[in-house]
């Protein structure tokens, strides 16, 4: 196994303080491949930073092992944990964590100064990464004189100057404005490709995860939900949490009942009956007349001229959100609220009646525990 493949085995982390007891991570198993851009995605407080801190050696696991290649870097049983220095990891933080009293040059040079490298080497190294990140003209500035984007570049420069074997980033872009975020995302991806260093990137932003990650892992409340390549996770979410977390606006989830009529399987949502395609039908046939949850992405609903066929449904529009490029319709179907995402202005007002069709091949069916049935 290669030196910078990361293996996380049975990892759990509990925090005990005077006031509370938190299980931040519960039995996580993951393998992150060498050179991979791996994204850990999850809502705030789900344990992402904790996971990254444990990988870095800033926290110790309560249970489980961490392997860097053939090296056991943390083992709860043996109460053993290598320091960040011994692991040769570098990390970028959400708040950038630049040293406010040092200028940009010294910030970047800090890891080398600690390692007592010769002066010329430090100077050469700093100039090199500064050029790579296009911050050569900022070297004498203090962090507080920099913009958010510049600070983030400095933080990245400081992280890569040591040629780490693993690169850890904790929501590095979330303090930036939207435009800059998109631009830096691309730069980061290119940088990672050219350096080829194994990277673990933590974010709560699914769009970021989709664009950056070779693979992504989704965590909720300390529990690993799903691992896979971005489109795979998007297309085949294992449960309702992942289904709703991936994609904006989130997937519609509707309570439904499974029906079977003359060999065909349907799901009935309020008054609306959806006929399902072959594969879905097969996996559902065992669940006859039980309750399920139907997931439909807002973009998989299409407006139709008229309720002409059985596949068309009618509803009234309660609200239209005009986002410029996209238009979101808020529609009621019985007691359920359903969102429809359109790419063109439908010219529809609040209160209008519409008819729509659903792409049944893209419908997801979950059991009442939220697990995807078709998987």
């Amino acid at each position: 196994m290669s030196a910078s493949t990361l293996r996380i085995i049975g990892l759990s982390k509990e925090f005990r303080t005077l006031r509370r007891y938190v299980v931040a991570l519960r039995d996580i198993n993951l393998t992150i491949r060498e050179g991979e851009f791996f994204v850990v995605l999850g809502p705030s407080g789900c344990g992402k930073s904790t996971l990254l801190n444990i990988l870095a050696g800033l926290e110790k696991p309560t249970e489980g092992e961490i392997w860097f290649g053939e090296t056991l870097v943390a083992d709860a049983k043996q109460k053993r944990s290598l320091t960040p220095k011994e692991r040769n990891v570098a990390m970028v933080f959400q708040s950038y964590a630049l040293y406010p009293h040092l200028n940009v040059f010294e910030n970047i040079a800090f890891p080398l100064r600690i390692a007592k490298r010769p002066k010329e080497e430090i100077k050469k190294g700093v100039l090199e990464v500064a050029r790579l990140l296009a911050i050569e003209n900022l070297l004498s500035a203090k962090p507080k004189e920099l913009s958010g984007g510049q600070r983030q570049r400095v933080a990245i420069a400081r992280a890569i100057i040591r040629h780490p074997s693993v690169f850890l980033l904790d929501e590095p872009l979330s303090n930036l404005d939207a435009q800059l975020r998109v631009r830096l995302r691309e730069e980061l991806k290119n940088l990672q490709r050219s350096l080829g260093v194994t990277t673990v990137y933590v974010t709560h932003d699914q769009a970021e995860a989709m664009t950056l990650g070779d693979r992504i892992a989704i965590i909720n409340q300390g529990i690993l939900q799903q691992v896979g390549d971005p489109m795979g996770v998007y297309r085949h979410p294992t449960n309702t949490f992942v289904a709703r977390f991936m994609g904006t606006p989130p997937m519609n989830l509707l309570k439904a009942k499974v029906l079977e009529q003359s060999g065909k399987v349907y799901v009935k949502i309020e008054t609306m009956t959806l006929k399902l395609d072959e594969t879905t039908s097969r996996s559902l046939s065992a669940l006859k007349s039980s309750d399920v949850i139907v997931g439909i992405r807002p973009e998989d609903i299409k407006l139709a001229e008229q309720a002409s066929s059985a596949r068309m449904f009618a509803a009234s529009v309660r609200f239209v959100e005009r986002l410029g490029a996209d238009f979101i319709l808020y529609v009621s179907i019985g007691n359920n609220k359903v969102l429809i995402k359109l790419h063109e202005d439908p010219g529809i007002k609040e209160g209008d009646k519409i008819t729509f069709s659903i792409d049944t091949a893209k419908v997801h069916i979950f059991d009442l525990n939220g697990r995807n049935i078709r998987k």
Partner: protein, 287 residues
């Protein structure tokens, strides 16, 4: 974990070592001494609580106790009022505020002994400034340090001069934490200057005032320096504070009884310190 644990111990041990060796240990030692007859040139003898029983018959001890309490009460009360006033002034924005703030620090910043010497000179019966000013206005002279009332007054004034700055700084911090919106709201509600002070300022700084009050009370109870210089405890022991009373026994070489008096003072101060820590919400700050 082990590394952090090791570092914790290494980082804390100098503090714990110094504090234990030169504060905690001596206080316990003082208690230990108070259980002994430990007088110069006499053989040491363990006497249990006999020294504490001796306190009851020691009229000077009770006089010192009463003096110390009255002195602390009055001077702290005056300091609080003046401290709030000074804090209000140096909290305002005005030209040369920095200089005025610096001046407000001075009496507290210099050695208490020097302040005491200056006041001692000012209080002199024959050529002191106080009687000179008083004489030129009313023609009378007061024996400031010769009567027990005059000596008490003189000491309180000197103490107020010296410690009002400290109180003012602590209260200044409280004033600065009052949100500006509260004043704006009160203005909108039609409250005038005085009403804003009573309804907004005072309630907001109450916690800080209580903390300053307790801290200063504990500090005043151990008063020594200014009395040592200005009155030497006189006239006739009228201004001998508990600290000074204890010190006089140390000076005589009676460490057993001197320790007994100082340990009583310690108990009083410690009880107040516990109250102070409870009310001061230091728990929240520290965590």
């Amino acid at each position: 974990m082990n590394k952090d644990f090791r570092d914790t111990i290494i980082f804390l041990s100098p503090l714990l070592l110094f504090v234990s060796l030169f504060m905690l240990f001596p206080v316990l030692g003082t208690f230990w001494l108070s259980l002994w007859r430990d007088v110069a040139f006499l053989p040491r003898k363990f006497v249990g609580l006999a020294n504490y029983l001796r306190l009851f018959k020691d009229t000077q001890f009770w006089q010192s106790m009463i003096f110390t309490l009255i002195f602390s009460l009055i001077s702290v009360a005056i300091e609080m009022v003046l401290g709030i006033i000074v804090a209000l002034v140096i909290n305002e924005r005005f030209h040369l505020r920095g200089a005025i703030r610096g001046i407000s620090l001075l009496p507290w910043a210099i050695p208490a002994i020097i302040g005491a010497r200056i006041w001692q000179l000012i209080y002199r019966y024959d050529y002191g400034l106080a009687n000179y000013l008083l004489g030129s206005v009313s023609g009378v002279s007061i024996n400031w340090l010769g009567t027990s009332g005059g000596a008490m007054f003189s000491l309180i004034l000197a103490d107020v001069w010296r410690t009002t700055p400290f109180v003012a700084i602590i209260i200044l911090a409280g004033l600065q934490s009052v949100p500006e919106e509260l004043y704006k709201q009160a203005r909108v509600d039609g409250a005038n200057l005085f009403q804003r002070f009573v309804k907004v300022t005072l309630p907001s700084i109450k916690p800080v005032v209580i903390v300053a009050l307790l801290f200063r009370t504990i500090d005043a109870l151990r008063v020594f320096d200014i009395i040592y210089v200005i009155t030497g405890g006189g006239p006739g022991g009228a201004t001998t504070s508990l600290s000074l009373h204890s010190y006089k026994y140390f000076l005589l070489g009676d460490f057993g009884y001197g320790s007994t008096i100082s340990f009583v003072l310690f108990i009083i101060a410690f009880a107040l310190a516990l109250l102070y820590i409870r009310l001061g919400r230091f728990r929240e700050i520290a965590l």
